[in-house]
């Protein structure tokens, strides 16, 4: 089974993270064709066709969620680092 994601809308990081979540269900070959990431899912033999279809859909949803997580992470990375740095320092954040 295959899934394709437009390069301009999805990051390879989100696709890889989503694939990792289902590492116990399938392995994945990722290639780039034209303007898309093409993902070929190699399911475990124990999964029947209905289960394979289910996990393909779950994988697509997970890519979307991972994309959201990446966008939150990107937007909040600086403030996260600032908060952590402050937590382990003795300085006052506002006065600095």
């Amino acid at each position: 089974m295959e899934a394709a994601f437009i390069k301009s809308e999805f990051s390879s990081v989100a696709i890889k993270k989503a694939a990792y979540v289902y590492i116990n269900k399938f392995s994945i070959d990722i290639s780039i064709e034209n303007d898309k990431y093409l993902c070929r899912l190699n399911f475990n033999e124990s999964l029947n066709p209905a289960q394979q279809k289910y996990y393909l859909n779950e994988f697509k949803k997970e890519v979307l969620d991972q994309e959201l997580r990446e966008s939150i992470k990107k937007e909040t990375e600086d403030v996260r680092n600032l908060i952590l740095a402050h937590a382990f320092s003795k300085t006052n954040l506002i006065d600095e």
Partner: protein, 483 residues
């Protein structure tokens, strides 16, 4: 005019310009989602709320806006101090790390008169005195434990069956109290209670010692799981519980159970046994993949999903007991709830990140060997010395705590930097458990989708939130378990 207060214009102006603070989310059932921030504060909502939050389209007058702002999911002109408050909360959550090590486990003997097939420990028969801790080793262990920066220490006596070497327990309690200086020490004996008697209980009463025992359920299940000469483990345990409750008070004794295949269909009967014996909670516990549980293949009798079903049915029944007006807690759920609702880490080693091995709990074996965790000791008995940190007779405190066998697993397994954990909305409530993952995968992390530890905890934590989301009375019951 008092310029300590903002003018009314300040509060009336539009405030849609907010900045996100770090957070994660996880999908629950029925289109519900949980959002958690970097210190574990949570908010339950739906997909539409998530989209509005991220795209900065939340209505500044809405309840969600006020709630999410107050829980530090974003900041605007009105809560400039959000970053500082988050950093203080983060620091508070991690403050216990500098207060290591609080739990010190003394394996006073490997001897045991039980022969439980699921035993995690490589017990010895009760006539082999060479497996007893002697006074010299015990004395070294006390001195070592008292070097801990933590002011509040707990000494737990384990075995085998620790009461088979009760003389060394008395020695340790008396010597520790003499040497403790300004530290506070509490004592616990983890015993099957078969050997408990009034002399032992008098000593426990005099020195404020707690009792922790094993009760696997009704007579048939308990005696099948925990064979001993006379086939009377259940009777001995129940007699011991009553004797201890009468002498020490019911708050001084607790029990835990281990799930075997025999237990799976009897969770209500097991819980009823605890209620009947006036215990105020139960620890529903799966088998651990160590020691005799591996040798006797007990560990493969049921899979993770069956245990999770067992836990869910048990939790439902326990909630029902509480709804009928009786206080009764499930202790594993209580640990997770404490991590959800407080900034105080409950110190449960398996659910800590950085891992609590060595720094939350440390083990002194009967022969002076020092282990980073109880499970590390079990692995050693199975021929793997990965978590053997040194020996009381030959190694200094500094050598033990700077040993790479301790520092490497703690550093490598830190869930904030582990694949999947670092993006997980439940990371604040879960743990690293490098010993478990090492025992299964031979590395400290493992692949989380293949990890029963990850699957079990994700499912349990998700279930806890779904229950609280479905019924405010369940949330009230859960809150009563925190303290």
């Amino acid at each position: 005019m008092n310029d300590k207060f903002q003018t009314i214009d300040f509060y009336q102006r539009e405030k849609t310009n907010y900045q996100l603070l770090p957070f994660n989310f996880h999908v629950l059932k029925d289109d519900r989602l949980i959002f958690t921030n970097m210190v574990g504060e949570y908010y339950l909502g739906n997909r539409s709320l998530l989209n509005k939050l991220i795209s900065k389209k939340l209505d500044s007058q809405s309840k969600e806006y006020i709630d999410l702002r107050s829980k530090h999911f974003f900041y605007d002109d009105h809560n400039d101090s959000a970053k500082e408050l988050l950093s203080i909360k983060y620091k508070t959550k991690k403050a216990s790390l500098s207060e290591f090590t609080s739990l010190h486990m003394f394996v006073v003997t490997l001897r045991c008169e039980h022969s439980c097939p699921y035993c995690q420990v490589s017990r010895q028969t009760d006539d082999k005195l060479k497996f007893d801790m002697d006074e010299e080793t015990a004395s070294q262990a006390i001195d070592f434990a008292l070097l801990s920066p933590s002011k509040n220490l707990k000494f737990e006596f384990q075995g085998g069956e620790p009461l088979l070497n009760f003389s060394i327990i008395k020695f340790i309690v008396k010597e520790a109290n003499k040497r403790k200086g300004d530290k506070n020490i509490s004592f616990v004996i983890a015993t099957n209670l078969a050997l408990i008697n009034s002399e032992i209980l008098s000593f426990c009463e005099e020195h404020d010692i707690y009792i922790s025992t094993s009760l696997d359920g009704p007579k048939e299940i308990h005696n099948k799981n925990r064979p001993r000469p006379g086939k009377n483990s259940y009777e001995k345990t129940i007699d011991g519980i009553k004797l201890s409750q009468n002498k020490l008070g019911r708050d001084k004794i607790s029990a835990l159970m281990t799930t075997t295949e025999e237990s799976l269909e009897s969770v209500k009967e097991i819980i009823d046994e605890y209620v009947k014996n006036d215990l105020d909670g139960i620890f529903l516990r799966p088998l651990s993949p160590y020691g005799f549980a591996i040798k006797t293949k007990k560990i493969i009798e049921y899979n993770n999903n069956k245990w999770i079903d067992f836990y869910k049915k048990g939790l439902e029944y326990i909630i029902d007991i509480n709804q009928r007006g009786q206080y009764f807690a499930e202790f594993y759920t209580s640990v997770i709830l404490k991590k959800i609702f407080t900034f105080q880490d409950p110190g449960y080693v398996d659910l800590m990140s950085p891992s609590g091995i060595g720094i939350a709990a440390i083990i002194y074996n009967y022969d002076g060997n020092i282990f980073a965790s109880d499970e590390g000791r079990m692995l050693f008995e199975m021929g793997d010395d990965q978590f053997l940190l040194g020996n009381l007779k030959t190694n200094t405190y500094k050598e033990v705590f700077l040993n790479s066998k301790l520092l490497d697993p703690i550093e490598e397994s830190f869930s904030g930097s582990v694949p999947m954990c670092s993006d997980c909305a439940f990371e604040n409530y879960c743990g690293a458990d490098p010993t478990y993952h090492y025992s299964i995968f031979k590395d400290f992390i493992g692949r989380k989708p293949e990890s029963d530890f990850c699957n079990r905890n994700m499912t349990i934590i998700k279930h806890i939130f779904e229950l609280m989301d479905s019924d405010v009375n369940i949330k009230k019951i859960f809150l009563s378990w925190i303290n």
